[in-house]
């Protein structure tokens, strides 16, 4: 666990200024100090695992804007994750989340599911713009623009290996593996051209973040243990992932969840892709041909959890693109992992704000570094009627 001390919260209210959910809900329970107060009351037995308490801790994107803006750095996101674990312990998981969990924690189940979905694509989905819409009236999911299931990247590339130095293990991440394999392909390509060796262990599993987010700490722990073992066996110098969220899980949460020297080593080897390209490999790209007008969205898991803001921008500009900043590039896109399943309307409202900020730039391409953000931003833009390409930074490099 990260160290956080509740007495550090002095109830100043600074969290109210930056919380994306509070800005929509406008009730104290939504902001950081409200959650701290409720958690304290829960600890003292004043509030049980009531509806109100559960809502306060689930209705949070864990975007960490409050922590960043807090004069005392109160770690509300960690509190929220801890509280969710307590809720699961006391009340169990909801049905939809246990089904989702089953799929995520088992590579076989997941790939069967995705395979089935891609075979039945025409039947299940209607193609639209940059994604698909579910034809079935399945709660809010049918309103959402979803990425088309693509078949499994890890299965396709098998146990890929390419010689080079340093020897880098690719951690694909579930969303890239099942829905956005082109990001995985672009990453492998860049690594190879930078002279790095690439290994893609096929038996890697989910990074654990969805489980941590749902409050299933034990499952998250099991997955971390598995990945630590898999990548140790692969004998890699570094582990890279093009998913900002996975990178946060590998670097920060794996070490919190598993207290072994191996997990520490694994965490210290983990890199986010733009960070690896710029800092470790010192890659310099240069554009060939006319650049595009690109705006960059900072994923919360990049800017606030890993403090990576410059590297993706440097890469975009080096590639000859014209980078135009949106207002509030660090404002959360509103996905928040399972948040978007629990609170689809709230998620869409926050997403709309992001889409409007993007439209304000006049950029043709939105770049970001997280497949989750890509999916959410595509959906938000689609709902607003904005036609823009939403890509991972690695897809914009020559």
């Amino acid at each position: 666990m990260e160290r956080w001390d509740l007495s550090d919260c002095v109830r100043c209210g600074a969290c109210r200024a930056v919380c994306p959910t509070f800005s929509v809900i406008r009730r104290e329970y939504a902001c950081g100090r409200g959650k701290v107060s409720l958690w304290e009351a829960h600890r003292e037995g004043e509030v049980g695992l009531s509806e109100g308490f559960v809502r306060a801790v689930t209705e949070c994107l864990t975007c960490a804007a409050c922590r960043e803006n807090c004069p005392n750095g109160v770690d509300v996101p960690s509190l929220v994750l801890e509280a969710r674990a307590e809720v699961v312990k006391g009340r169990g998981l909801s049905l939809s989340k246990s089904i989702l969990g089953r799929f995520l924690s088992s590579p076989t189940m997941a790939s069967i599911g995705v395979k089935a979905a891609s075979i039945l694509k025409g039947l299940l989905f209607r193609e639209e713009g940059t994604g698909v819409h579910l034809r079935l009236p399945l709660s809010h999911l049918s309103e959402r623009l979803l990425p088309a299931p693509s078949g499994t990247f890890l299965k396709r590339v098998r146990d890929y290996e390419a010689e080079g130095s340093p020897r880098v293990g690719l951690f694909t991440g579930c969303l890239i593996n099942h829905f956005l394999p082109e990001i995985g392909e672009a990453t492998v390509d860049l690594l190879k051209r930078a002279g790095a060796g690439v290994v893609i262990p096929r038996d890697q599993v989910c990074c654990g973040m969805p489980f941590l987010g749902m409050g299933e700490r034990e499952r998250a722990r099991e997955l971390v243990l598995r990945n630590v073992e898999v990548f140790e066996r692969a004998g890699v110098d570094l582990v890279v992932t093009p998913c900002a969220t996975c990178a946060t899980a590998l670097k920060i949460h794996s070490r919190e969840l598993v207290d072994t020297p191996e997990a520490k080593t694994f965490a210290s080897k983990a890199r986010e892709v733009t960070e690896l390209l710029r800092r470790d490999l010192g890659v310099k790209v240069s554009g060939n041909g006319p650049g595009r007008r690109v705006t960059y969205h900072d994923p919360c898991h990049m800017s606030r959890y890993q403090h990576i803001k410059d590297e993706p921008r440097e890469l975009i500009e080096m590639a000859g693109h014209n980078l135009v900043e949106m207002s509030h590039p660090c404002r959360c896109c509103g996905l928040g992992g399972t948040f978007t399943i629990d609170y689809p309307e709230l998620s869409a409202t926050i997403g709309r704000q992001k889409a409007e900020d993007i439209m304000g730039t006049g950029a043709e391409v939105v770049a970001t570094a997280c497949p989750g953000c890509i999916i959410q931003i595509r959906d938000s833009l689609h709902r607003l009627g904005g036609k823009k390409e939403v890509l991972h930074v690695v897809q914009l490099l020559p």
Binding site: R11, G13, A17, R26, R27, E28, S37, E46, G73
Partner: protein, 458 residues
């Protein structure tokens, strides 16, 4: 609380805008004093009419009403110390009108001060009051406490920008004070009476605020000083030179040490720092900047940095902004007093505070709005250490005595609320307090409007 009363409240504000859940009561029980008093319910009215109906109902049933904005006050103004109903302005947050020609705007009380500033700035207009909580505090709270900020020196405080108010009186009747004009002397100035009254006389539901044209240029200057006397002397010398800076912030050596320990900002060699800002027309600003630089040098100032672009200015403000988070290096808990002295007495105040701290064995740090003498005196304590709170309380009392001896006042911009109520008599005479009490009595004979505030021991 009586079921039928709750039903009536719900009929007024609609379902979902009244909560009696323990979770919401907890979430509306505190403010930045970090004290807690549970209300019996929390209400989120959506219009002035709803507020009026609520107050009428509360008056009929003698239920305390506690107006609340963002709950970011430092003296407990929004705490329901006598229970009752917290009435939040969370939903009353519309900017109703911005009049460019007549330079005013009309807003609801729940508008966040910083949001209003952004909105009017985009139209080339300026709402100057800038409490450090401006990104989350509300206009309603600012009016209740008469909030100030660094710009107070040149631009004044909230009271200087409130032209008129719509107020629900404690019996539920709605009155309007002042108006849309800068001038107005018809009868007593009720507008000013409400500003700073801490929500004890009525519930503000609408405010007409004065605006100014946005200054063309802002120049920020950071000056390091080898001794405190030099910095304090420079404050007076700048003002005497005929320049009125829009900010003149003072940072003492304890703060410099904390900030430097927190992050290297190249200020560690200073015993005191001034952060100065001038604004106005291009050309004039530069000239004033050069004059200030000269004055600072005469007083021993060195390593003087200037910036007029947004980024550069932000960098210069970093040290000032880092003070609050970095003070925790001294001790985990902070007692923050916003005393004011005549600006020529800043040096004596800071030295005196240091001496008091030494005597009581309490770490102190002073910084703040040097230009108008409003220095934030911070006593950094550890509540877990036995006897520390008691010693700190004694030390605070001495700080107030010192302040008054120097011709100052014990609160510049935070108000009295509950935390300073015990000290009211130190500054005000019996007759003054009696007069104020009779004003409260006239407005609120039943004592339902934010009871338990301002006056000691009732």
């Amino acid at each position: 609380m009586d079921e039928t009363i709750l039903k009536e409240i719900e009929a007024i504000v609609g379902r979902g805008n009244l909560s009696t859940s323990i979770e919401d009561r907890i979430c509306y029980s505190y403010d930045a004093t970090n004290q807690r008093f549970l209300p019996e319910g929390v209400i989120f009215p959506g219009s002035a009419e709803e507020v009026a109906s609520l107050v009428r109902l509360a008056s009929r049933n003698s239920i305390p009403i506690v107006p609340r904005g963002a709950g970011s006050g430092f003296t407990g103004g929004s705490l329901p110390v006598r229970g009752g109903l917290v009435v939040s302005t969370e939903r009353l947050n519309r900017i109703l009108e911005v009049d460019r020609e007549n330079l005013f705007c009309i807003v609801e009380p729940g508008v966040v001060t910083g949001d209003l500033q952004e909105e009017v700035e985009s139209m080339g207009l300026f709402y100057p009051p800038d409490p450090s909580s401006l990104k989350f505090c509300t206009i309603g709270g600012n009016i209740a406490e008469c909030a100030g900020g660094p710009r107070g020196l040149k631009y004044g405080v909230t009271r200087d920008y409130v032209l008129g108010l719509e107020v629900v009186l404690p019996d539920g009747e709605v009155i309007r004070t002042g108006g849309r004009t800068l001038k107005g002397v018809v009868g007593y100035d009720l507008t000013r009476l409400f500003v700073g009254s801490e929500g004890t006389l009525g519930f503000v539901t609408r405010a007409i605020l004065r605006l100014l044209p946005y200054p063309e240029k802002v120049l920020t200057i950071l000056a390091l000083f080898p001794d405190q006397e030099g910095a304090a002397g420079a404050v007076s010398a700048i003002i005497s030179s005929g320049i009125l800076p829009s900010a003149l912030e003072f940072i003492d050596r304890e703060c410099v040490a904390c900030v430097s320990d927190y992050r290297d900002m190249g200020i560690s060699g200073a015993e005191a720092i001034l952060l100065i800002e001038v604004d106005g027309r291009e050309g004039v600003v530069e000239r004033e900047g050069a004059m200030i630089e000269e004055v600072c040098r005469e007083k021993g100032g060195f390593d003087i940095r200037k910036a007029s672009d947004r980024r550069g200015r932000k960098r210069l403000w970093e040290a000032r902004r880092a003070i609050s988070p970095s003070l925790r290096r001294l001790n985990p808990h902070k007692i923050n007093e916003d005393v004011v002295v005549p600006r020529t007495a800043i040096g004596d105040l800071v030295a005196g505070v240091r001496e008091i701290g030494r005597r009581y064995g309490i770490k102190t740090a002073c910084f703040g709005h040097g230009g108008d003498g409003n220095i934030h005196v911070n006593l950094m304590i550890d509540r877990r250490v036995p006897g520390e709170i008691e010693r700190a309380e004694e030390a605070v009392k001495e700080v107030f005595q010192l302040t008054l001896r120097l011709g100052g006042t014990i609160s510049g911009e935070h108000g009295i609320g509950i935390t300073k109520a015990p000290f009211l008599k130190m500054e005000l005479g019996r007759r003054e307090i009696d007069l104020m009490r009779s004003i409260k009595e006239t407005f609120d004979p039943k004592g339902i409007m934010n009871p338990g505030k301002v006056f000691p021991g009732d």
